[in-house]
């Protein structure tokens, strides 16, 4: 109230941001223009307002010039609103007497005419000057943080994040949709560039997760609903029926050999379809948890069709030899239903990973047409000792003269399949050059075949990566720079008969070549999960145009999202290798711990409140509030808002028919004067 009466003394600062703003906006002219406006005590331009001297400048001016309002025209409030509010407060003013104008993202970066950009900056500045006059002193609220954390996705990112938090004494829920954790890494044979066995380094971590007292592991489960806000999320998790009582299953796997299906005959997804499994199975030997799962789609004890609730119909027609084998452990339960769990957590780490590009989308490479064309993930399983062939590299089609399955004598590995291509995915998938070389090495080791790598550019930036490239060159692998035109099976010469022919320009030699090989490996790229859009909405995150989840800042907040308390790690944010994924997972865990250990979050005081005397009690606002923050006083027939729950979305403000709801920082007087400011500038 006193601020209204005292003389308005606004300090205005326009930032050059080096050349970012100054190259397109005449900052001096903006300052000179603002200087003349009513209420402005001083206007300055400065090279970097966010720097220490820039902040000190604001503080000094407040003291020396008795400023009572501050406006800074610079970058996005997302970046530095916090900084300048801090400076305002350090100068002795309430931080909400500060207002920020974005003349970088909204102006200098998007315009090409310096004069017009300058005029726009002046108009935006005038709007802010008029607005800030109406600002009030506000108080920041502190809300306590629930110390538990939800980690979504049990690949190496989720595993590492969960372990980091659990080892620091935090309680973690790890939710994974597959029957086992491990993710893509569990399928790999070895890892580049050190060639450590992927299982040897991953499975100990997996079993640690399984037995950690601070980790609640829910596999075969989906997050179905997320409510609340940083520090106080309520999450619903669907635990899908696996028809096994997890607590009773000991992982003895006696049920599997005793299944009525004597031979495994159903597609084994873990082995990329190269092997078969039974209706009751465990995805792979080191699966965590060591609990089998029953597939109701193929198990004889279920019928075709679904119950009204969507669950499969139990037919009870099978002899149930598996139940017999399970014996008194009694772990098999055909009546099991999906189960919904509700948990409270303060932070969420999303590690939902990637999917590999569908090679069939590049028909020129013949995947699905020619049997001996493979994807890289298929090769990972094929060279793996616990894979479908026990690590023997044999072709899908063709026999040796003695009738045994054929081993390839020549192999072509095609890089960038689906990547760097405007027709599919424009990004570089980052890991393919390295994993292609790893597979070339492993295939050479297994088969002693002639190896060809077809690449557009070799990308090996990473510790020990270029050295690995050197090693491959020493091994005699051929590296041909050229994106393959096509893979085909028609022969032009006798040596091409019966082979797959790769037609490519050897761009370094400048000649077109035809290279016959026995096996083609497609180094498929990485792309967002098919349901990334749903996951994004569930956790209120953003996606880039390419579909990867968007980090808050590409350099300075790489694991944060735009939603406080929701963090990212691993490939769901973009393609990356295991070292980077693990580093990110650790970073995300640390970011969560920052909030947990502080114990509270500060809430922006942009909450709404109801002018009691104006409220007619119509209740139209109540169902609209997405945070159920509006309550109704039946005695007084008036609505009221629980400030702790209000997130400042403004929905009720717009909806109230009697204009009796007001939102801090967005009061009518503030918004209208801001609009007037833009419009009055000429």
């Amino acid at each position: 109230m006193s601020a209204k009466k005292e003389e308005l003394r606004i300090g205005f600062y326009v930032c050059h941001c080096g050349h970012n703003i100054a190259s397109m906006v005449d900052c001096v002219a903006v300052a000179r223009s603002v200087e003349k406006l009513p209420g402005v005590a001083l206007a300055r331009d400065y090279k970097y307002m966010c720097s220490d001297p820039g902040q000190v400048l604001i503080q000094q001016d407040i003291r020396e010039h008795k400023l009572n309002r501050i406006v800074v025209a610079s970058c996005s409030p997302l970046l530095h609103e916090h900084t300048f509010r801090g400076a305002t407060e350090a100068g002795g003013l309430n931080p909400f007497y500060f207002h920020m104008v974005n003349i970088r993202e909204h102006d200098s970066w998007v315009h090409t005419d310096r004069q017009e950009a300058t005029e726009k900056a002046k108009a935006l500045a005038e709007a802010a000057i008029r607005r800030v006059a109406h600002h009030k002193a506000l108080e920041i609220k502190k809300v306590p943080i629930h110390p538990d954390v939800l980690v979504v996705g049990g690949g190496i990112a989720g595993i590492h994040a969960a372990m980091t938090l659990a080892n620091a004494g935090k309680k973690v829920y790890l939710v994974e949709r597959e029957p086992s954790i491990g993710g893509h890494m569990a399928k790999f044979d070895k890892t580049f560039p050190t060639l450590d066995c992927a299982a040897c380094i991953l499975t100990p971590k997996m079993s640690e997760v399984g037995s950690h007292p601070n980790i609640t592991l829910w596999t075969y489960s989906d997050v179905t609903k997320v409510d609340g806000y940083v520090g106080n999320y309520t999450v619903q998790v669907k635990r899908k029926a696996r028809y096994i009582i997890e607590d009773l299953c000991t992982g003895c796997q006696d049920c599997i050999p005793n299944c009525v299906f004597k031979e495994p005959k159903f597609t084994d997804d873990f082995n990329e379809g190269l092997g078969k499994r039974k209706p009751v199975y465990i995805p792979f030997p080191q699966a965590t948890p060591q609990v089998v799962v029953i597939d109701p789609e193929v198990c004889l004890n279920f019928k075709r069709g679904k119950n009204p609730d969507g669950s499969p119909i139990v037919s009870d027609k099978c002899k149930k030899t598996c139940v017999e084998a399970c014996g008194e452990k009694n772990a098999i339960d055909f009546t099991q239903k999906d189960e919904l769990k509700e948990i409270k957590v303060g932070n969420i780490i999303v590690c939902t990973g990637f999917k590999t590009f569908d090679a069939g989308r590049v028909p020129a490479y013949g995947y699905g047409t020619y049997k001996n064309v493979y994807t890289s993930l298929e090769i990972e399983r094929l060279v793996n000792a616990s894979g479908p062939t026990g690590g023997e590299v044999i072709l899908r089609e063709g026999k040796n003269p003695d009738g045994s399955p054929k081993t390839p004598k020549s192999i072509g590995i095609i890089h960038c399949v689906g990547s760097r291509d405007k027709k599919t995915n424009i990004w570089c998938s980052r890991v393919c050059c390295m994993y292609s070389m790893k597979l070339a090495h492993l295939l050479k080791e297994h088969t002693d075949a002639e190896l060809y790598n077809f690449y557009i550019d070799m990308r090996t930036p990473g510790k020990g990566y270029e050295e690995f490239y050197n090693k491959l060159l020493e091994e005699g692998t051929h590296f041909i720079r050229g994106r393959v035109g096509e893979v085909t099976d028609w022969a032009m010469t006798p040596e091409e008969e019966g082979k797959l022919v790769i037609r490519v320009e050897d761009t370094l030699a400048g000649v077109v070549r035809r290279i016959p090989v026995d096996m083609v490996v497609l180094a498929t790229g990485l792309e967002p999960q098919a349901d990334a859009g749903d996951v994004r909405r569930l956790f209120n995150m953003s996606c880039g145009g390419d579909g990867w989840f968007l980090e808050r800042h590409p350099k300075l907040a790489p694991v944060n999202t735009f939603t406080d308390g929701v963090f990212l790690a691993g490939c769901c944010q973009g393609p990356k290798d295991i070292p980077d994924t693990v580093a990110q997972a650790g970073a995300a865990a640390a970011e969560a711990m920052v909030l947990i250990d502080r114990g509270y979050v500060e809430q922006e005081p942009n909450t709404a409140f109801i002018l009691d005397q104006e409220c007619s009690g119509c209740k139209s606002c109540i169902p609209l509030c997405p945070y159920t923050a509006i309550l109704f006083d039946e005695e007084r027939k008036k609505a009221y808002i629980n400030e702790a729950l209000c997130k400042g979305c403004g929905t009720c403000v717009g909806a109230c028919p009697s204009s009796s709801i007001v939102q801090n920082l967005f009061e009518d007087s503030e918004i209208f004067s801001e609009i007037e400011g833009v419009l009055s500038y000429d």
């Binding site: 020129a364 760097r420 291509d421 405007k422 027709k423 557009i456 550019d457 720079r481 050229g482 994106r483 393959v484 035109g485 096509e486 037609r503 490519v504 320009e505 050897d506 761009t507 400048g510 000649v511 077109v512």
Partner: protein, 196 residues
């Protein structure tokens, strides 16, 4: 041993040529070329070319006008559009080849008695004069201008066409030839105006 100097000096470039080509409708995406060689990899004629299609793209972008306009590559392009379809940067390579052919014809830098541009010219002339193409006459004219001796070798083909009733000496033409001529004239005038 004949030796040839292959170095390129900056003076060998025709500054602005690449930009000029990229300003033509259909040729814009060339600036995104990553020199991956897919075009050459799928091109059925690349095995005969002096420069591969990929190299032509780079030469255009780098302003080596004389090299590309004199290359055989642009004439070997059979317009099958395989490169355009497969290019990961969606560069309309076939259309760029067309543009280069046009420039080579305009500047008359193609090899003498080279049948491909001659055919194109005779084709265009016939469309201009009659509105339609009569294949027998078209092919005859091309041979007369390029290699009259080889025309004799085509006698067998003519005989076979005659046997199957596909040989005709009639020059097909449209009725409103003046209409077509006026349309063409107008395009010419507009182009001249634009150049002036």
């Amino acid at each position: 041993m004949d030796i040839k100097r292959t170095i390129k000096y900056e003076a060998d470039r025709v500054s602005g040529f690449g930009r000029e080509v990229m300003a033509v409708p259909g040729c814009e995406a060339l600036e995104h070329c990553i020199q991956c060689g897919t075009c050459s990899g799928v091109c059925p004629l690349s095995i005969y070319m002096d420069y591969t299609p990929r190299q032509v793209m780079e030469l255009v972008r780098s302003d080596f006008k004389n090299e590309v306009l004199q290359s055989h590559t642009i004439w070997l392009c059979a317009s099958c559009y395989a490169c355009t379809t497969e290019c990961p940067r969606q560069i309309r390579i076939t259309d760029i080849m067309y543009e280069l052919k046009q420039r080579a014809i305009k500047e008359k830098v193609y090899p003498k008695r080279f049948p491909i541009p001659v055919l194109a010219e005779e084709f265009t002339k016939m469309v201009h004069d009659y509105g339609r193409i009569s294949e027998t006459w078209l092919v005859s004219k091309m041979y007369l201008r390029t290699n009259p001796v080889a025309a004799l070798g085509m006698a067998g083909l003519g005989m076979n066409l005659m046997k199957t009733g596909r040989f005709s000496l009639k020059q097909d033409k449209i009725e409103r030839r003046s209409e077509l001529a006026r349309i063409m004239e107008s395009v010419d005038q507009q182009n001249q105006k634009a150049q002036a």
